[in-house]
Amino acid sequence: MTEHDATNFGTAGGGPIASISQPVPDELKDTVTLTTVDQAVELLGKLIDPVANWARSNSVWPLTFGTSCCAIEMMCVGMSAFDISRFGSEVFRGTPRQADLIITAGTITRKMAPALITLYEQLPEPKFVIAMGACTVTGGMFNDSYSVVQGADRIIPVDVYLPGCPPRPDGILDALLKLQQKIRTNSLAERRRRPGGMRPVRYVDYDTGRPMEDLVREAKLETELALELSDSAEKS
């Protein structure tokens, strides 16, 4: 590998393979179809995605995650009156490693936020989030509260917003159908290319309940200040 390649490695979009492979010459355009692994994956995806997405969308397994009153409606939607199993989502899993979907049923407090982020990270890809209830959409009635995260989309990416306080079980079914539509129309490659990828938007500190970026900035400022002080002490 040349030095030029090494500097280019992994910086361009489309992964490392795309960045070191050469473009196809014009005279070979008709005969060569596969140039990179990414394109191969994309082609395979075009073939497989319709089937895979159809299967995925009809077996969205939610995580049992309920932090307040919305969870009652989430339980209700699993019972026989509304019967979420008609849409293939009756398997509420107790562990994130077996689930595809988090329905954030209830208020996300600052103390709960790191745990929610951990759960989101433990979900296998592709993973989806329904922000259920006013609290997780905007903070709701806990507007300006000292302890509530003002919307789950501040910490994890949200696919479907479901307002209501709490929303009726029909609303959950509607959100699920919307999510199924979304799953059928997008591909894993597209989801990977989203801003932020499939990682949480923002990390929250377990100890203080504050965003990590703020704490890191504060720590940097403190170290800079300490360095300046020590420098000035050495000079004098």
């Binding site: 600052r110 103390k111 936020a113 903070g139 300006d144 509260s145 000292y146 302890s147 509530v148 995260v149 003002q150 919307g151 989309d153 501040r154 910490i155 990416p157 932020g196 938007v201 923002r202 929250v204 377990y206 100890d207 203080t208 309940g209 504050r210 965003p211 970026e213 703020d214």
Partner: protein, 179 residues
């Protein structure tokens, strides 16, 4: 709950001591009657007399206020109150006891001090931790006075009037903090 001295229901001197007030006076414990809260007799005792008064009210055959319903804290404009709700299993009697610490008597940067009941009443343990967490009353003699609701590293006491939370990305209304 705003506290306006001009519109306070009645001057405390004008209130006759109620049943529990006279009972405590017989035992030699000074108390001041405040205006009733929801029809329940409300008295104020000093922090030094608190443990003795509550022990007397709990054990005496006359009163038998054996159930400590809640301990709460209130940040009035000029004082910080620690409020105790007592109830009797036998006669359904209720009593509200307050320990009022004027803000003027609290040194700068310190918390008001109130004796802890956690060693006599196990129910007081978590209530006092919660009151310490949210209102910032330090209970002297509590076995484990640590924050119970907020994260342990939280700064300030959120239900204080002068509490201002620093704006960060989780509660900022600035649209840039949204995704």
């Amino acid at each position: 709950m705003s506290h306006d001295p001009a519109s306070a229901p009645a001057a405390p001197e004008s209130l006759e001591p109620g049943r529990f007030g006279t009972f405590l006076a017989d035992k030699g414990i000074a108390s001041k009657r405040l205006s009733d809260s929801c029809g329940v007799e409300t008295i104020e005792v000093s922090a030094d007399d608190l443990k003795r008064a509550l022990a007397e009210l709990r054990t005496n055959e006359e009163t038998r206020l054996g159930l400590l319903l809640t301990i709460s804290g209130v940040d009035m404009a000029d004082s910080i109150d620690s409020v105790y709700h007592l109830r009797s299993y036998y006669s359904n009697d209720e009593l509200v006891v307050k320990v009022v610490t004027p803000k003027a008597s609290i040194p700068e940067g310190r918390l008001p001090l109130v004796p802890s009941l956690a060693n006599e009443w196990p129910a007081a343990d978590w209530h006092e931790r919660e009151t310490y967490d949210l209102v910032g009353i330090r209970y002297i003699g509590h076995p484990y006075l640590r924050r119970i609701l907020n994260p342990w590293d939280w700064e300030g006491h959120p239900l204080r009037r002068d509490y201002r939370q620093p704006v960060d990305a989780l509660n900022d209304k600035n649209p840039h903090s949204f995704r």
